[in-house]
Assembly symmetry: D2
Homo-oligomer: 338 residues x 4
Amino acid sequence: MLIVMHHQATQEQIDQVIAAVIAMGLQAEPIPGSLRTAIGVLGNQGYVDDSTIRTLAGVRETIHVSKPYKLVSRDFHPVSTVVDVSGVRFGDGEKPVIIAGPCSVESEEQILEAAEQVKAAGAQMLRGGAFKPRTGPYSFQGLGLKGLKYLQQAGQASGLPVVTEVMRIEQLDTICQHADMLQVGARNMQNFDLLKEVGKTGHPVLLKRGMSATIEEFLAAAEYIVAEGNTQVVLCERGIRTFEKTTRNTLDLSVVPLIREMSHLPIIVDPSHATGKRMLVPIMSKAALVAGAHGVMVEVHPNPAGALCDGAQSLSGNDFAEFMKDIDRLYEFLGYSD
Amino acid sequence: MLIVMHHQATQEQIDQVIAAVIAMGLQAEPIPGSLRTAIGVLGNQGYVDDSTIRTLAGVRETIHVSKPYKLVSRDFHPVSTVVDVSGVRFGDGEKPVIIAGPCSVESEEQILEAAEQVKAAGAQMLRGGAFKPRTGPYSFQGLGLKGLKYLQQAGQASGLPVVTEVMRIEQLDTICQHADMLQVGARNMQNFDLLKEVGKTGHPVLLKRGMSATIEEFLAAAEYIVAEGNTQVVLCERGIRTFEKTTRNTLDLSVVPLIREMSHLPIIVDPSHATGKRMLVPIMSKAALVAGAHGVMVEVHPNPAGALCDGAQSLSGNDFAEFMKDIDRLYEFLGYSD
Amino acid sequence: MLIVMHHQATQEQIDQVIAAVIAMGLQAEPIPGSLRTAIGVLGNQGYVDDSTIRTLAGVRETIHVSKPYKLVSRDFHPVSTVVDVSGVRFGDGEKPVIIAGPCSVESEEQILEAAEQVKAAGAQMLRGGAFKPRTGPYSFQGLGLKGLKYLQQAGQASGLPVVTEVMRIEQLDTICQHADMLQVGARNMQNFDLLKEVGKTGHPVLLKRGMSATIEEFLAAAEYIVAEGNTQVVLCERGIRTFEKTTRNTLDLSVVPLIREMSHLPIIVDPSHATGKRMLVPIMSKAALVAGAHGVMVEVHPNPAGALCDGAQSLSGNDFAEFMKDIDRLYEFLGYSD
Amino acid sequence: MLIVMHHQATQEQIDQVIAAVIAMGLQAEPIPGSLRTAIGVLGNQGYVDDSTIRTLAGVRETIHVSKPYKLVSRDFHPVSTVVDVSGVRFGDGEKPVIIAGPCSVESEEQILEAAEQVKAAGAQMLRGGAFKPRTGPYSFQGLGLKGLKYLQQAGQASGLPVVTEVMRIEQLDTICQHADMLQVGARNMQNFDLLKEVGKTGHPVLLKRGMSATIEEFLAAAEYIVAEGNTQVVLCERGIRTFEKTTRNTLDLSVVPLIREMSHLPIIVDPSHATGKRMLVPIMSKAALVAGAHGVMVEVHPNPAGALCDGAQSLSGNDFAEFMKDIDRLYEFLGYSD
C-alpha cells in the first residue's frame, strides 16, 4: 500500500502516519517528493485494511497494491485449475464446454425435449432453472423441487451433467443431490453467506459476475468459495450494467483474456443474458470462444415463443443445431479435435 | 404494453401477434402508422410478461406501460405510509429521523459509547452491524450474535431503537428478537428469498437500494416484501455505481423527490456509504433533507481512526454533535418543531 | 508516480525500469515488499506521462499521485477565485447566482418576455441558446446570429448579463461582442481546440461537465482554459450519464463540495438538464445551494408547453416566481442578506 | 410515438393532448386501457419532437417508436454501403480492413518506419495522429501540419491510404488535401458543427463512437454527416465508459452485429483504445472480426517503450507481424481469400 500525503502535510502528521503503520505490525518507508510525501507500506502478506490510515490528518489517499484475493490469483498459483463436473472438464487445454438448455424448467416434457435436442446437437451439459430470481414478484418463479427433479431426470436420460441455480442456503443439500453443478447467480454474487456455504459443499460451482461487479470484486467473491476449501469454481461473464440499453447488458468480452491472466480459474460466457437478443447469441458465442472462453452457456427452448421466461433470448432446437455446426467448424479452426 | 412491428412486417405477422395477445387473455388494438404498425395491448391488470410476444416474427420491440410493482405504487395507494419503529416514525408529516452509529459493533464498550454520544447529540435511532458483508473474506466480518446482543444493550441503555443488517434467512428470528428494524443491504436487494422471508416477519425493514438498481427494480424489490403482507418498509438511497470513482458511489439525490411521487413508502438517505468521505457526510445529509428525505443514516464512531471498518467515512462523536446543531437549525427552517 | 512490479519480476527488469525513470530526468526509489517491489518516482513537477514505463517488462501497473491539472487546483492556489460577469459575481463569499431563461431563443418576443419574467422574479443573469447542440439533425437547431442579437437586446432591456453557448471557434468573436459569458456545453467539454480559443478570449466562461467526465477530466478541461491566461471560469455540474434512465441524467451533487475543496474555481449546478423533469428542478436547486453551489441555472420559458426544445424541464414564469420566493427564504437561512 | 397518460388523468386532459397532437399536423388514436389511457400518434414521417406534449397536464411519459435518424437506417435503405478509401473498401462482402500505425506521428523517421512495418505485415491502411486530443494541456499535443505531411509521405512511400483525426473546422481543407480519410474522434462525436462540415467535404470519414454515446446517438451523429450528402462514413466502436476500470474502456462488441442490422454503414473496431492494454489487442481484434466487424484499427509503434502517447496499448512491429499471420489464418477460416 502507498499512502499519499497532502501537499501541505506537516512533518508531525507524517510521523503520526508512520507510527500508525508500525502499530499495525508493518513497516513504513517515506518517499519525499518535490510536491508531496508518499509513504510506502511494506511487510504485509496481502490486502491491508486501510480504514485507520485514511482517517489520519494530512492523508490525501491510500493506494492499494495488494488485492482482496490471493487463492484465486495466478500470481500465487500459476498452474491453471481444471474443473471437473461429472466428467465434463473446464479449463486450459480442455475443449471449451457448451452448456445449453432453457431458462426455466417448465414441465417434465419441456426439459426432456430440450435435453434431447441439445444432446443431439452436441452440447456437453444441460442447464435449467428450478428456483428463479425474477425482478418482480408477479413473474413466474420456477417449479422449485419438482423442477429440480425433472432436470435431474432429463440429465440422466440424455447423459448430460446438469447445472442449476441455488438461491438460498437451505436448498443447498437438495440441489447437491440432484444437480452436478451449483450456479450462483449474478444477483447473489455478493451474498457472502451463500458463497461460504457453497464453498463448504465442495460441489462444482458456476459463479456469475454481478451486474455491477468489478473484476476485483468478482475474483474476491470466488475467493470466498475457494477459502472454504472448494477449488472447483468456474467463473461466468454475463454482461454488466451500463448506460447502453439496446442490449440487456453490455457483454464485457475483454474480461475473458484478462481473467485468464489474473486467475487460474476457468471462465465461460453467457451471451444469452448478456445481450438479451436471440440473434446475437450465436455470433457472440463464437466471439467469446475466440477470445479464449473455456465455454459458453446458451439458452435453448423447444418453443421459444411459448417460454415462461426469457423467450426472446432463447434459441430454438433447430437454431441450436445450426449453431453447433458452426461451433464444430470453429473448434477445428481453434485446434480442438474431438 | 405496446408492440412495435418492423417496417417490413407482413399482415400475416401482424395477425399472428394479435392472435398471441388474445391467447394471453388480453385485447389487441392495431395502430397502423405511416411507417410501421404498432399494436396496443389492453385489458391487463398489471405488468405483462412479454417473453412470448418478443419472439414472434416481425416484432421489433415491446414497450411496457405498466410496472412490475403495484402495492408500493402511489398511483394505486395515494395515501403515504408511515413506518413506526418502536415509536420512531418515518414518513410524510413526520420530522425526519436521524439514525446514527458505527458501521460495525466492535465491542461492548464501543457500541455503548457510540449510543451515548449519538443519543446525547439528538439521534433518534442507533445503527450497528453485527453481521457484515465485506468484499473479500479477509476483512473483519463482524462479531455476529455477540455483536447483536451488545447492540441491543446499547439501544436499551440509551433508549434508542436499533437497526442492523440481516444477511441470511436463518438469522431472521434472532435478529427480530434483538433489533427493532431489519436492514436489507444493497448487495442483497435482489436476494428475493431473503426479501420474501423478511416480508413474512412483519418486522419494520430498511431496504437499501442495490448498487446498480434502477428505481423500478428498487420498487419491485420492496414489492416482494409488501406482497407478503409487510407494509413497514423504509427505502434507503445509498449511492449508485457509476464511472466516477472520486466518491465511493454516486449519491443519486434526485430519487428522493421522485420516489416520493412514485411510491407511498418513506425514503431516507445514507450519505456515508454513498460518498465514502467523512467531509461530505454533513453537507450531503443537509442536501438530502432539503430534497425531501424522511431521514438520514450516518456513521458515527467514538474513534474513527481505530475503526475496524469504514473509518474514513465515519464522524467522531464531536463531529456528530456539531452536525446535529446544524440539523436543528435546518429543521427549524424546514418547519419541524420539536 | 508509483510503479508496481509483477510478483515474479526479475532484478534485471527492476533495473531497467529504474534506468528508464532516470532517463526521463527523474529519480527512482525502489521499495522492496514481501510480495513484490514497487518503485517510487520522485522529482517531477507535475503529471508524469507514463506511456514509456507501462510498456516495460515486469511492470504490473503505474499509479499516479500528481494530477493532469495544476493552475485550477486549490492545492497550489488556495485563494478562491471570484468570477465577475458584468458585475454579477460567482464565488466564495458571494451570494449564489440564479441564472434563468429558456433553452433556446425562439423569437424576439419570447426572449424579451422571459427576460422580464426572470428579472421580475429576482434572477441575476439571463440564459438562452442561439446555437443549439441537438442529438439529431432534424430537431430545431437554434436561430443563430439573429437569436444572439435578440438575447443581447433582452439582456439590455432587463438589465441582466447574458450567457449563451458557443459551438464553433468562428463564432467566438461574435458571441463575445453580444454576450457577457460564453458557455461551453457538455458535449464540447473535451473539444480541446475550442477550450484553448475560449481561453484566449479572456471572456468569462461557463464550463459544463461532460456527460461521462470524471472530476479529474473536468478540472483538466478547465486547465486548458486557464492555461491560456483566462481565469474567469465557472464550472457547472449538469448530471452524468449512468444506467438510471428515469431522470435524464444523474445529478451528482457530491461534486459540489468536492470541487470546492479540490479547486479554487466557483461551481454552479444546472438541475434542468440534470433531471429533465420540471417537478424536480426547484427542489434539486435548493439541495444544490445547501450543498454549497455558487449558483444554479434553471430553464424558464414563458410557455413551456409550446417550447421548441426541452419544454418538459422548463419552469413557467409563474413557477419561477414561486421558486424565487423559496430561494429568498433559503438565502436568509444560509446567511445571505440582500 | 405513444403518449402514456397518468392513471388519474381526466378526460379533459386527454382531450387537450389529442388537440395538441392534431395541432402538430398528426393524428391521435386513443387506446383506453383498464388502468390508464395511452394515445398513439400517427402520420409522422420520422422522429417527433415531443417537448410540447411531455409538458401537458396528465401526461406520464412519451415513448418513441421512430428514431432520430433515417438516412443511415437499414430500415429505409436495406442495401449495404461500401466505403471506398482510395481503393481500400469497407463493407459487406469485402475482406475486412486492417488499419495500423502509431497513435501519434512523432517524427518523419518514426512514421516511415511504422508504415513500412505495417505494410510489410499486410495492413491495408495507415493511421497516425497529427493533431491530438489529450485530457490535459501538458501532454504531447501532436506535431500538427508537419506531422500531417510526414504521414502523407509515409502513406505514399508505402502505398497505403492514410487516416488522421480532425479536431477543428479550419483544419478540414488541409487535412482533406493530405489524408485519404478523416477521423472524427470519440470526444467530438457530438461536435455537431464539425460533423456538418465533415459532411460537406464529401471525403471518407471514420466516425468513432463517443465514450458514453448510445447506439441511437451514434447513428444520429452519422446522420448529421450523411444529411449533408456524404455517405462515405465508416463507424468505429472504441469502447464505452463504465464502472469497470481494469480496462481503459469497456469494449462493446455486441454493437457490431447490432449496427450491421440497424444500419447499412460499415463498422470497424479499435481494440487498442477500447482496452488500453497491448496484450488484449490481438485477441480482441480476432473476436471483433468473428463478431462481424468490417475491419479493425490497431496501434503499432516501431518502439512502444519510447512512444510519446499510448505506448502501453501499442504493438511493436514484430508483434504486429505475428498478429497478421493469425489474421491470415482467421480470414481463411472466415472465407476471405486474397
